[in-house]
C-alpha cells in the first residue's frame, strides 16, 4: 500500500520533472531558468528521498541530501553570484524559435517513452515507468543545450541533464553504489567551478558570454 502510494508520488514528481524540463526549454529569462533548475533539483531530491524511504535503501538518503545540497542550494547560488558579478541579466536568444523547439521537444519525449517502454516492462522497481521520463528529460536538456546561444544557459542545460541522469539512476535502479554517486557528485561540483572560471575568462576575452564569438576555430 505504502509502496503504491510512494510510487504514485514518485510518478507525480517524475511528471513534474518532465514539466520543468519543458519549462526550461521554453524559458527566456536566465534568472527564472536558474530557479527552474533549482526546482528540478528539489523534485529530484524529494523523489530520491521517497524512494529511499519506500525501499529502505539508506544510502539513497545520502544521495538525496547530496542532491539537495548541490543542485538546490549550492549550484544555483553560485550561478546567481556569477550572474551578478558578470552582470548578464539579459534575455536569452534562441537559435530556433520557441514553438519549433517545443514541438521538437515533444517529439523527442515521445521517442524516449517508446524507447524506454520495453525496458520498463522488465524493471523490478516500484518506479520503473519513470525511466522513460528520465531519458526524456536527459534528451530535452540536450536539446536545450543545442538551441541556447549563451554560455550560462548551456551550462544549466548540462546540469539539468545531470539531474535527468540522477533521476534515471534512482528511478530505474534505486541509485548507483554510493562511491559512484559521490564520485559523480564531485565531478559535477568541480565541473561547475571550472565552468565558473571559464565564464570569467570568456568574459574578459570576448566581453560577452555569447558563444557565437567562439566560432573562429573551423575548417575554411
Amino acid at each position: 500500500m505504502a509502496l503504491s502510494l510512494s510510487s504514485q508520488i514518485v510518478n507525480l514528481l517524475a511528471a513534474l520533472l518532465l514539466l520543468l524540463a519543458f519549462a526550461m526549454l521554453a524559458q527566456r529569462r536566465v534568472l527564472t531558468l536558474i530557479k527552474l533548475f533549482a526546482w528540478q533539483g528539489a523534485a529530484l531530491a524529494l523523489s530520491t528521498a521517497i524512494v529511499a524511504h519506500a525501499t529502505g535503501q539508506t544510502h539513497l538518503y545520502f544521495s538525496a541530501g547530496l542532491t539537495l545540497a548541490l543542485k538546490v542550494i549550492l549550484i544555483p547560488w553560485l550561478l546567481h553570484r556569477l550572474i551578478d558579478q558578470l552582470n548578464v541579466r539579459w534575455d536569452i536568444e534562441m537559435l530556433i524559435n520557441i514553438p519549433t523547439t517545443m514541438l521538437t521537444g515533444i517529439g523527442v519525449a515521445i521517442f524516449a517513452f517508446s524507447l524506454a517502454a520495453p525496458i520498463s516492462q522488465m524493471a523490478s522497481t516500484v518506479t520503473r515507468s519513470t525511466l522513460g521520463i528520465a531519458l526524456a528529460s536527459v534528451l530535452l536538456s540536450f536539446l536545450m543545450m543545442i538551441v541556447r546561444r549563451k554560455a550560462v544557459p548551456q551550462v544549466i542545460g548540462f546540469l539539468s541533464m545531470e539531474n535527468g541522469l540522477f533521476f534515471a539512476a534512482t528511478s530505474a535502479t534505486y541509485g548507483m553504489p554510493l562511491v559512484v554517486e559521490l564520485g559523480v557528485a564531485l565531478d559535477v561540483l568541480v565541473g561547475t567551478f571550472i565552468f565558473g572560471i571559464f565564464f570569467f575568462h570568456i568574459r574578459e576575452q570576448f566581453d560577452s558570454l555569447d558563444i557565437r564569438h567562439m566560432e573562429k576555430l573551423k575548417e575554411d
Binding site: 521517442f111 524507447l115 540536450f142 566560432e215
Partner: protein
C-alpha cells in the same frame, strides 16, 4: 661445391654487409674514410652477391627463416633461380656504380657524404631483400624501404624546389603502387593460410580473382616501373638524384618491378592467361613509343636517359607480354623464349643504362652541364668518357654486335613465332608489336646520334670549355666495368641463354627446344638452326677482318698524306658554334611527324631580333588529363567535407544528438 642453403646464407650475409657498411657511414670519420674504405667495401659485397646470384641460378631453390618479423609470420628468405638472376643483375651493376662513386663523390662534404653512404647502402640492401623475400610482409618491408632510401637519395639536393616536388611525386606514386601490391597479396591470399609465398602459391584462385590479383600487381609494379600513365615521376626523380644513384634507380630499381611482375604472375599465381599478355603488350607498346618520343624532345641529358628507361621498360614488357600470350595458348617453348628475351633485356638495360647514367655523371662533374645544348666537342677534353659513352649509346640503340641487339633480336624472334597461334586476331596482333619494337629501335638510334653528336662531337658551344679534364681513375674503372658488361653480354649470348633458360624452366617447368639448348657457345639458336641463328663473335670477327683488310689495302695503294684545314664554310665566312644543330633542332623532324602527341610551347625570335633565341617547351599531356584532375578531385571532396566543421558548437552538439538518436532508432 657448397650446398644451396649456405649459398642463401652467404647472400644474406652480403646483403647485411651492405647494411653494416651503411651504418659505418654514420661514424664521425672523414669523407676520405667513407670514399676510400666504405664504397670499395660495398663494391666487394656487390661482386660477392653477383657471384652468389650466378651460382644460385644453377642450384635448386633453398629457403631460410629468420627469427624476425611478425610473431606468426617471421621473415622467410628464398634463393631460387629467378632471384639469383636478379641478384646477379643487382650485384653486377652495383659493383660498377660503387667503384664509380669513389671518384664521383670526391668533393662532397663529410656530413653529407656520410648520409649519402648510409642511404646508398640501405638502398642496395633493401633491393637485395626484395629479391630474397619469400613472404608478403618481408617483401613489403623491403619494397617500401627501397622506396624510402631512394627517396632520400633523390632529395639529396633538397634546397632546390624542383627536386623537392620531384621527390614528393616519386614517393607518393611509389606508396600508392605499394598499396596496390599489398592489396594484390591480399587477393591472392584469398582466405586460409598465412602470407608466405608458399601459401600464396598453394592458394587456389578462380580465374576472376587471379585476373584481379594480376591487374593489381601490374598496376602496383607498373607504378614503380614507370609504365604510362604512371610514368610521370620517373623523368623527374631519376635525374634529380646524384648520378650514381640515378644509375642504380634506372638500372636496377625499376627492374625490381619487373621481378615483381614475373614473380607474381608466373610463380605465385601460376596459370598465366593470354588476355593478360595482350594488356601487357598494349601498355608496353604505348610505354615504348611514348618513352622514346619524349626522350627525343629532351635536351637535359639525364632527363633524356630517364625517358629511355621508360622506353626500355616498355620493350621488356613487349617480351613479357608475348611470353604470356604464348603460355596462355599453351605454346610453352615460344613462351619461354619470350620470357628469356624479356629477362635478357632487363639485364642488358641495367648494364647500358647504368653505363650511360655514369657517363652523364662524369660529364656533369667535369663541365657542370646537364643541358646538351650547352655541350659540344667533349670528345677532345674527355676522350675516355666519350668512348665508354659511345659504347653505351650503340648498345642501347640495339646495334650489333652489342648486347642491346641480342635481346631485341630475341624479342623479334618471339614475335616471329606468331604463326603458332590459332586465334586469328591475336596471331596478327603480335607482328604489330614487333613493328612497334622496330620503330622504337630506330628512334632510339636517332636519339643517341643526337646525344653523342651534340654532346661529344662538333665544336664546343659556349660554356663547355671549362671542362677540367677527363673522368677520374675510379670513375673510369666503373665505366669500364659496365662497358665490358655490354661487350660480354653482346658477344656471348649463348651462355646467358642457357642461364635464362634455367631460370624460365624453374618458373614455368618448360624450356627451350632441344636444338636451341645443344647449340654451342658460339651460336644463338632460339628455336631451330633452320629458322634463325646469330653469332655475335663471328659477326664481330668478320667486321673487324673486313675493316682491317680495307685499311691495309688503302695503305698499300696510297701514300697517306693528310692536310689539316678549317672545315669548309660553304662560303659563309663567319661560322659560329651556334650554327651547329642543337638537341632541339635534332628533334625537329620528330616534332613535325608526331606533333599532335606533344604539348608544345614554342617561342620564335622576331625578324629584327638583336639576339635571336629559339626556345621550345614540351609538356606531357598526362598531367592535364590524369594527375591534375585527380588532385582537384581530392581538393574538391575535402572542401566539401570541410563544411562539416564550421566552428559552431551548437551544430557540433546537434551532430552528437543526431548520432545518438540515429543509433537508438537503429537499435530498436
Amino acid at each position: 661445391m657448397d650446398s644451396p642453403p649456405s649459398l642463401l646464407a652467404a647472400a644474406l650475409l652480403a646483403a647485411t654487409a651492405w647494411l653494416a657498411i651503411g651504418l659505418l657511414g654514420l661514424l664521425p670519420a672523414g669523407a676520405a674514410f667513407v670514399r676510400r674504405a666504405l664504397f670499395p667495401a660495398g663494391a666487394a659485397a656487390s661482386l660477392a652477391l653477383a657471384a652468389l646470384g650466378a651460382q644460385g641460378v644453377w642450384y635448386p631453390a633453398s629457403s631460410l627463416v629468420l627469427p624476425l618479423g611478425l610473431p606468426d609470420l617471421p621473415f622467410h628468405l628464398r634463393l631460387d633461380p629467378l632471384a639469383g638472376f636478379f641478384l646477379l643483375l643487382l650485384g653486377a651493376v652495383a659493383a660498377g656504380v660503387s667503384v664509380y662513386s669513389i671518384g664521383y663523390f670526391r668533393d662532397e662534404a663529410g656530413a653529407r657524404l656520410r648520409l649519402i653512404c648510409l642511404q646508398y647502402h640501405f638502398f642496395l640492401a633493401s633491393m637485395a631483400f626484395v629479391l630474397l623475400a619469400d613472404d608478403a610482409y618481408l617483401f613489403m618491408v623491403a619494397w617500401e624501404t627501397m622506396a624510402l632510401a631512394s627517396y632520400f637519395l633523390v632529395t639529396t639536393d633538397h634546397q632546390r624546389p624542383a627536386i623537392r616536388s620531384a621527390g614528393f611525386l616519386y614517393l607518393l606514386v611509389a606508396h600508392i603502387g605499394a598499396i596496390a601490391v599489398l592489396l594484390c597479396f591480399g587477393v591472392m591470399h584469398g582466405g586460409g593460410g598465412d602470407y608466405t609465398f608458399d601459401a600464396l602459391r598453394a592458394a587456389e584462385l578462380s580465374p576472376f580473382w587471379a585476373s584481379v590479383a594480376f591487374l593489381l600487381a601490374f598496376f602496383g609494379f607498373g607504378a614503380k616501373a614507370g609504365l604510362i600513365p604512371l610514368h610521370a615521376w620517373l623523368p623527374e626523380a631519376h635525374p634529380a638524384a646524384p648520378s650514381p644513384v640515378s644509375a642504380l634507380m634506372s638500372g636496377v630499381m625499376i627492374k625490381t618491378a619487373i621481378y615483381g611482375m614475373v614473380r607474381i604472375s608466373y610463380d605465385l599465381i601460376g596459370a598465366v592467361r593470354w588476355d593478360w599478355g595482350i594488356l601487357v603488350l598494349v601498355v608496353g607498346a604505348g610505354t615504348t613509343l611514348f618513352g622514346v618520343l619524349f626522350a627525343l624532345m629532351q635536351h637535359d641529358l639525364k632527363r633524356l636517359l630517364a625517358y629511355h628507361s621508360v622506353e626500355n621498360i616498355g620493350i621488356i614488357l613487349l617480351g613479357l607480354g608475348m611470353s604470356m600470350v604464348f603460355f596462355g595458348f599453351g605454346h610453352r617453348e615460344a613462351g619461354v623464349l619470350g620470357l628469356i628475351a624479356a629477362l635478357y633485356h632487363t639485364l642488358n638495360h641495367a648494364v647500358f643504362k647504368g653505363l650511360l647514367f655514369l657517363g652523364a655523371g662524369s660529364i656533369l662533374h667535369a663541365t657542370g652541364l646537364r643541358d646538351l645544348n650547352a655541350m659540344g666537342g667533349l670528345i677532345r677534353t674527355m676522350p675516355a668518357t666519350a668512348f665508354y659513352f659511345l659504347v653505351g649509346a650503340l648498345a642501347i640503340s640495339a646495334l650489333p654486335p652489342l648486347n642491346g641487339f641480342v635481346s631485341e633480336w630475341l624479342t623479334f624472334q618471339t614475335a616471329l613465332q606468331a604463326s603458332l597461334i590459332e586465334h586469328g586476331v591475336v596471331r596478327s596482333l603480335l607482328p604489330l608489336f614487333a613493328a612497334v619494337l622496330a620503330l622504337a629501335g630506330a628512334l632510339t638510334a636517332m636519339c643517341f646520334v643526337k646525344v653523342f653528336g651534340v654532346a661529344f662531337l662538333g665544336r664546343a658551344r659556349h660554356s663547355a670549355e671549362k671542362a677540367h679534364g677527363d673522368a677520374r681513375l675510379s670513375e673510369r674503372l666503373g665505366l669500364a666495368w659496365l662497358t665490358a658488361g655490354c661487350f660480354f653480354l653482346g658477344l656471348f649470348p649463348a651462355a646467358m641463354l642457357l642461364m635464362l633458360n634455367r631460370v624460365a624452366a624453374s618458373l614455368t617447368g618448360s624450356s627451350l627446344s632441344a636444338q636451341a639448348l645443344e647449340s654451342n657457345w658460339l651460336w644463338v639458336v632460339p628455336t631451330q638452326p633452320m629458322q634463325a641463328s646469330y653469332s655475335a663473335i663471328i659477326f664481330l670477327l668478320v667486321v673487324l677482318a673486313v675493316v682491317l683488310i680495307t685499311v691495309r689495302l688503302v695503305r698499300v695503294f696510297y701514300h697517306g698524306r693528310i692536310r689539316v684545314a678549317d672545315p669548309w664554310d660553304c662560303g659563309y665566312p663567319e661560322q659560329t658554334t651556334r650554327m651547329q644543330d642543337t638537341a632541339d633542332a635534332f628533334g625537329q623532324p620528330i616534332r613535325h611527324v608526331f606533333g599532335p602527341l606533344y604539348l608544345m610551347k614554342r617561342h620564335l625570335p622576331g625578324p629584327e631580333d638583336a639576339n635571336p633565341r629559339y626556345s621550345i617547351k614540351i609538356e606531357d599531356r598526362h598531367w592535364y588529363w590524369l594527375y591534375l584532375p585527380l588532385a582537384r578531385l581530392v581538393e574538391y571532396t575535402s572542401s566539401k567535407i570541410g563544411l562539416l566543421q564550421r566552428g559552431r558548437i551548437s551544430v557540433y552538439l546537434l551532430y552528437s544528438f543526431l548520432t545518438l538518436i540515429g543509433l537508438l532508432v537503429f537499435v530498436r
